[in-house]
Symmetry: C2
Subunit: 334 residues, 2 copies
């Protein structure tokens, strides 16, 4: 395991335990979040998670990205599938199907238990932030996990087959329709929670995890004043490219980039987040692209196939962020 | 299998397929209902089921007696436990327990699928009658299954430890507290559904199944005008005693009778339904008690250990009812 990447000098300058906020969507984001949790002291990590994929199913509120992050941080995720839990069974799903119910969304039995708990609590009046905190504690996760908002934001994918709610595009149509654009219904009315605002205000580093920029990070950036808040923070904001060697590590990011007319390159990602980032991490296979990124860039091994490699990338990102502190400290206070 | 108990003569007198309505609670009622279904033509049986045991759990609406009846009629019940489904698993229950949720009520995975479907439909505005009909059809049940009302009636057990909602008395406290009385919250406001009213009005026979009189049949009798409606029907009303040889076949009926100061005898059951019945069936072990029942009584083998014995008892009850028709036909029309 990698040692704590914050040197004594850095820690002294901070005068407190460093606080890291990670913005994450599904699998890629959850992997780096697990790496960050592994190299940080308990409680130092807060993960702000996309809820644009959330939907109602079987009368329950399903939050796929929140669950993927919590399951990864708890070490109970299914690493083969990339979603759901390890050692999962599907007895309820099978019977619901036999009863004529919808079985296109593969809800496992253990996973369902989480949705039942969450839905009951939400119906009783708890906020999604409160419910998520109870669930991560119940699963023994030492990091804070926050939904990007307590108000509903729903990702709508505009395709050549018409507008599709996220899960119908992603699961129902297996990302096959050609994407023209993406929008976030409810984002204008949604507000950042106090918990997200406080975490960002207290952050020493903000990490844009290697999640799909259009489907996972853009929804987070669309909430309330998030886009205007980020540049005002003192913390360095570092993104890790989710595109490696011209491919997305997981999911439809590369396909979407082609469909929307962008080069499938880390440079496109860096440009997409222009004005929001202080540093950019890209894979060694894309080293040549680093020169085209208009900000401090670090070339690293970004592939995360096990916990040591996740922790190694996390440490690399935090060390890179630490090098940016002196520069940022000279910024005028917002 | 027993042949159709309605003779050609009887069928001719009826000029239509005989319609049988059974009033039922849980296990005992479900067994006789399965027997009736086995000897009647498809669609001839309607079971009106107690919903006083219904409750909210995990944010879902659970209807234990409706499910017990449907599972028995579908042949998917668990005959050993007396509740729930055969070949059941408990993956969700286990995980809900690990997440700090309530796991005292043993909800199986297949059973849960039914509760999920029902709760979603109810939330969408369907009536319990509509939802129950969809579920029994999905499980291939040819008989009509009706909740006693679409409005909530909740059985409250008054005990020496205070008032307990039914499931807390029955499952949570395993029927241990001493019962003083039973009441049915909401019964005064509840109304019979059109479906129940029509089924009763068209019935050729009404069977009081061998269910707990205080916890399963009294709630049905408490709904709206049920008590005044029954005596006005032309159909003979026959009860089968749930007490055999001084014991309840299942559940706390005998214990409750002792606690409330009644002799544990079929005669107590017959007296309890005085004014509502035209005939009474009691077990051969209680043959001596037949003389003390103040109505036509039939001594029969009432133990139902498999489908042939359920069908045999059902046929016996229907044959007994048929012998009462000429008498009833001479009643003045209501």
């Amino acid at each position: 395991m990698t040692s704590n990447p914050f040197s004594a000098e850095h820690r002294c300058a901070l005068r407190h335990t460093p606080q890291v906020v990670a913005l994450a969507g599904g699998v890629g984001g959850a992997k780096l979040a697990a790496g960050l949790q592994a190299v940080l002291p308990p409680g130092a990590l807060t993960v702000v998670v996309n809820t644009g994929d959330d939907f109602e199913h079987w009368g329950l509120t399903i939050c796929p990205d929140l669950d993927t992050v919590i399951y990864n941080l708890a070490g109970v995720n299914n690493p083969e599938l990339g979603w759901g839990r390890a050692d999962e069974s599907f007895a309820v799903l099978k019977t619901v199907g036999l009863l004529g119910g919808e079985d296109w969304f593969r809800l496992g039995d253990k996973d369902l238990a989480v949705h039942l708990r969450r839905s009951e609590w939400l119906r009783q009046g708890s906020s999604l932030t409160e419910v998520t905190d109870r669930l991560r504690r119940a699963l023994g996760v030492p990091s804070t996990v926050l939904p990007m908002s307590d108000l509903p934001v729903r990702t709508l994918v505009h395709t050549d087959e018409g507008d599709l709610p996220f899960q119908h595009y992603f699961v129902g149509r297996r990302c096959e329709p050609c994407v023209l654009d993406v929008s976030f219904v409810g984002a204008a009315e949604a507000t950042l929670t106090d918990a997200v605002y406080t975490a960002l205000a207290q952050a020493d580093v903000v990490v844009f995890c290697p999640s799909n920029p259009y489907l996972s990070l853009d929804p987070i950036l669309s909430v309330g004043e998030m886009r205007s808040l980020l540049p005002s923070l003192r913390a360095p904001k570092i993104a890790v490219a989710p595109i490696v060697g011209g491919q997305a590590l997981k999911g439809p990011a590369a396909k979407m980039m082609r469909e929307m007319g962008y080069p499938v390159s880390p440079v496109t990602i860096a440009a997409h987040f222009d004005g929001l980032l202080d540093g950019f991490v890209l894979d060694k296979i894309d080293a040549a692209a680093a020169a085209h990124v208009r900000m401090p860039a670090l070339v690293a091994d970004t592939l995360m196939h096990d916990l040591p490699s996740k922790a190694q990338l996390a440490a690399t990102v935090l060390e890179f962020a630490a090098t940016l502190w002196p520069v940022l400290a000279s910024r005028p206070a917002p």
